[in-house]
Subunit: 664 residues, 2 copies
Amino acid sequence: GVDYLTDERKTAQFDIEAMKVAWAGSRETLEVSDRMAKLVANDPVFEKFSRPMLGRKELFKNTLRKAAYAWKLIVSLGLSEEEAKWLRLYIDEPAFTDLHWGMFIPAIEGQGTEEQKQKWLPLAQKMQIIGCYAQTELGHGSNVQGLETTATFDPQTDEFVLHSPTLTSSKWWPGGLGKVSTHAIVYARLIVGGQFHGVHGFIVQLRSLEDHSPVDGITVGDIGLKFGNGAYNTMDNGVLRFDHVRIPRNQMLMRVSQVTKEGEIMQSDVPRQLIYGTMVYVRQTIVADASKALSRAVCIATRYSAVRRQFGSRNGGPETQVIDYKTQQNRLFPLLASAYAFRFVGEWLKWLYMDVKQRLAANDFSTLPEAHACTAGLKSLTTTATADGIEECRKLCGGHGYLVSSGLPELFAVYIPACTYEGDNVVLLLQVARFLVKTVSELGHKKPVGTTAYMGRAAGLLQTNCAVQTAEEWLNPGAIVEAFEARAARMAVGIAQRLAKFENPEQGFAELAADLVEASVAHCQLIVVSKFIEKLQQQDIRGKGVRESLEVLCYVYALFTLHKHQGDFLATGCLSPKQASLANDQLRTLYSKVRPNAVALVDSFSYTDHYLGSILGRYDGNVYPKLYEAAWEDPLNDSDVADGFHQYVQPMLKQKLLLSSAKL
Amino acid sequence: GVDYLTDERKTAQFDIEAMKVAWAGSRETLEVSDRMAKLVANDPVFEKFSRPMLGRKELFKNTLRKAAYAWKLIVSLGLSEEEAKWLRLYIDEPAFTDLHWGMFIPAIEGQGTEEQKQKWLPLAQKMQIIGCYAQTELGHGSNVQGLETTATFDPQTDEFVLHSPTLTSSKWWPGGLGKVSTHAIVYARLIVGGQFHGVHGFIVQLRSLEDHSPVDGITVGDIGLKFGNGAYNTMDNGVLRFDHVRIPRNQMLMRVSQVTKEGEIMQSDVPRQLIYGTMVYVRQTIVADASKALSRAVCIATRYSAVRRQFGSRNGGPETQVIDYKTQQNRLFPLLASAYAFRFVGEWLKWLYMDVKQRLAANDFSTLPEAHACTAGLKSLTTTATADGIEECRKLCGGHGYLVSSGLPELFAVYIPACTYEGDNVVLLLQVARFLVKTVSELGHKKPVGTTAYMGRAAGLLQTNCAVQTAEEWLNPGAIVEAFEARAARMAVGIAQRLAKFENPEQGFAELAADLVEASVAHCQLIVVSKFIEKLQQQDIRGKGVRESLEVLCYVYALFTLHKHQGDFLATGCLSPKQASLANDQLRTLYSKVRPNAVALVDSFSYTDHYLGSILGRYDGNVYPKLYEAAWEDPLNDSDVADGFHQYVQPMLKQKLLLSSAKL
Ligand SMILES: Cc1cc2nc3c(=O)[nH]c(=O)nc-3n(C[C@H](O)[C@H](O)[C@H](O)COP(=O)(O)OP(=O)(O)OC[C@H]3O[C@@H](n4cnc5c(N)ncnc54)[C@H](O)[C@@H]3O)c2cc1C
Ligand SMILES: Cc1cc2nc3c(=O)[nH]c(=O)nc-3n(C[C@H](O)[C@H](O)[C@H](O)COP(=O)(O)OP(=O)(O)OC[C@H]3O[C@@H](n4cnc5c(N)ncnc54)[C@H](O)[C@@H]3O)c2cc1C
């Protein structure tokens, strides 16, 4: 067929295959990922175009079908764990399997004893049981310590009795819980001997392994429709209530705390901080997902912006491609740069997690608080930016972006809960702030590590003067990092000083919460900028023009962020108005450098048309005929005259509505 | 029943009935509006809870039913035009009637000759014909002059021949076009004697008035699913193609230009600018709608934030209401203030439209460019802020905001196209920028009027120094307006100076487009702030504490905007970092003043639970039991064991998937 984007691809100034490798992380990853993407794209079972038109039941049944078929493929083709992960990603449909593999199994791995792991993991890994992660309740999400479900130890029978004492104690939200899971990790207040001993996880069977009917004493169901047409409605987020349900004592996850037969509580020598290791793991996957979601949206908006022409025709020639408008570039290119920035900071977080894991194994907890704060902050920053970015990409597509067939509405609807789950983004930033304030207060006697190392140079950063005098001088990683460090350090120190004026530190923290959040954001943006720059200094970036193009994106990310938050930089005196304005001038020049590479930079994500799921984002740019074709598939077009016309419209036109006996 | 928000209502420091009047605009308006709201809320036909669960056909048929029933009510109860308008608003469901009343009729009124009005308006007003507004095509939206549909005059038969010469010339998007409208105002390139004479409107019959089948030569249908579950899918946005369709010459809208029988083009003495009058009208209704939509979202988020408690329990007492967290206040209260700000600027725009209309009637076009720029800018500013604000309100509700039953997903999905239709928001801001630059360039010899009057004092504003020295001194309308004027003037003059350096002004405009948009935003924010302040100086604000509470909101709007854009204020030297920081301190104090009034301030919108359509936003705050009840109505809960279990899940659990003969 035709490729309407050929000309765009010709102007690319880098080796696209090499860029694909840089994006994927390695040639091997690219190969596996591409192979799985094609496997999914070429199999009609994974068709997803009609998804938004299905009713809830049909939609859900179709998800069960896809999940079963995927499992069949995984087993029969003998796919590796990595291959299976890519396969599930490209199927691109939230399902109970996400929680089974992503939360249920990791929770047992992380919190179960050896014995528990030996018993439960093989069952789960073969899908002889299906599990979910049931923490949140109707009344409590962010405040896990406030959960109301109780697990009361009964020494007579050596069992725990799970119970939902109030309406608000009903479990609410867990994915896969509603209609599929046979088991759940249930978080509940442990009560032994009438005493409350904190919240713990319990493995609870929910449904019969024979006929799937709920176990006695258990009420379970789906919580109803969520945002979007198809979107997250393929998932059975569930509600769950216990009426004195008994489970054997050995189903409490006991790696950290144990309850003995005699009702004694014992702490193992495994440190509690271990749980933070799991949080670092889960949140680094969320950062990786953010770059996936944002890059999809950017890919759609970039290709369509190159296809779309509006205004500026001369002598009847073609109009201007909307991607050539500076306003369009100023909205789109920073998002393109962010997709890359998040990709690389995600890659680094993966390394960080491995590092933390090794240290934990060696009983070294020194980096844990910093790693924890850093992943919490980056989870918040990247998911917020991605959610906003997807919607901006939709707007960049004008009216047509509002059609479900543009792919953007579903991408948005399915993505946004990432701002809420695994820690509400604002609550997370407050945790980061707490950590920053602590770091500042300990500066005298404790050397800050990792991403807070710059705080060790706070004294200097409070004094430093930015030396930039021309727009060109902003093309300097040192100058950029220093400006971001100075801003972050000054905001952190400034707020710490203001906090110190409060008699009651907690009251101060509450009072200044909004400003604390701003300081956290400044710190997190510094991390993203630094990690992007560090990435560019690595040896593993190969191929003609790849490093150069990534450098341009890195500068776009940094200078756009600087411009957007210039209030911070100016208020803290890190930059003069003149310097901020030079950064903005440089940004415009950078956009011109991105422009010829824009389409190739989104091609480098190596997404299939199936995965993108967007008529506007088609690889070949053949947008209009396909939009036109797709329209006719709407059920409303089944007949020329709409169902309901004779009953409701004709009597109106014929002025017979008042007479009409038709019950309206 | 119980009212969980009683305590919140008790703390209000103003007379809520008086505030309702202030919000509604007058006691009479409040009375009509409330009466219509109740009429809708109490009639089961207008039930909308189940809407998101319906398939497209069912959904659409149900909309036809509601529209017919509403018309029956309007006629049989003899409702006035104003009453009918409120009725349709509270039905809260996009439908063909919106375009029929909101675009088709006004277009004939504005662009039709007396003869045309006499012929078509009575038919339309009795709904003997149903019309829509068919401008946008697959290939052209923003660039109306680029439309490709042709209307060629055939002097032999005294007819126009409408034709769609290309695929991209297909009409695409018009609401009501797909399945309902019998007629359309079609915009097409007028061709007479082989010459192109600009784009004009034509009244075209699309469907038979007998059996509703499309007229010969016409292909018409629905363009397919749009964002959201129910949302805008109740509307039949349509596609339309012409294959040489003939209409009589007198169906061209000829108030401004005429084509004679002989094929001569004549301009009437009615000035072309008249169309701008219509645009001012339509856009002021959009600003009014923005305050409606934002206030609904804010109402939901405020009530739920008062009900929701998380963290901070002491000695087993109740936890902190999330509305007491400063971060929550810093996200929510500025939106509450914006809802009021947009309400009042909308009211003022309505006045502006009346003023323009009177002037036009008296052949005074002097204020038209300013009025046009001002409505374009305010349309852009308020719709962007509202779209973002609704989503922020959803996030403020944590996980539960993601449920369709929170009402927020649908509110968002149905609202966001307002950022695109009636002028893409960025394209509009560029128009405002053009006007601002022109105003600056003419400062020497032309006195700027209306909302740009401050530019006349530009010389002073470039020099002025803000005098604020304490946080209290920010509670001063004069200081605030001056800061906003200085910022806007300096940005406009600054960019005009930079533009002057380009040899080719158009190239300069294109190059600096992103900065021009920022200058436009500064100008528009000034308008909103000034109009809010002017409103507070009016006599018609009555009732205990009403003015005081509105003043607090006005300051919140202004100082929050100042803080968010402090980069502008600092970069232009309007404020010192210290002054900006004092503004932020004052903002925190203001939040404490909003807090006791928050629930009462959203009660003052006088919305019924039906209109809000949100379990989280219920008047009585009885959130949890109702969420729990609603969950069970999801079709997935029809049976304990999900449809598809035996086919897809059981074989997996029983490890029989590979053997299973079931075709997956
Ligand atoms: C699609 C989806 C899938 C989910 N899947 C699962 C799952 O599989 N398993 C599971 O257990 N849970 C799941 N959840 C639940 C999710 O983890 C919670 O919704 C999340 O933790 C947020 O908690 P919340 O809803 O209680 O929000 P809330 O805490 O009620 O937040 C409401 C508002 O209060 C603010 N707030 C709360 N506390 C503070 C504070 N201390 N300071 C300042 N502001 C505060 C928040 O910022 C927010 O604006 C899922 C949720 C969604 C939407
Ligand atoms: C729900 C809905 C209902 C509608 N109802 C109707 C209706 O009843 N009747 C009707 O006729 N139409 C209707 N429309 C169409 C609507 O008016 C157009 O979508 C709108 O005018 C935007 O035009 P576009 O889609 O061509 O966007 P485009 O102009 O293609 O915009 C795409 C991108 O290009 C950018 N861009 C375009 N031109 C410029 C420029 N000169 N400078 C800088 N950037 C530029 C935009 O900012 C945007 O980011 C409707 C649309 C929607 C979504």
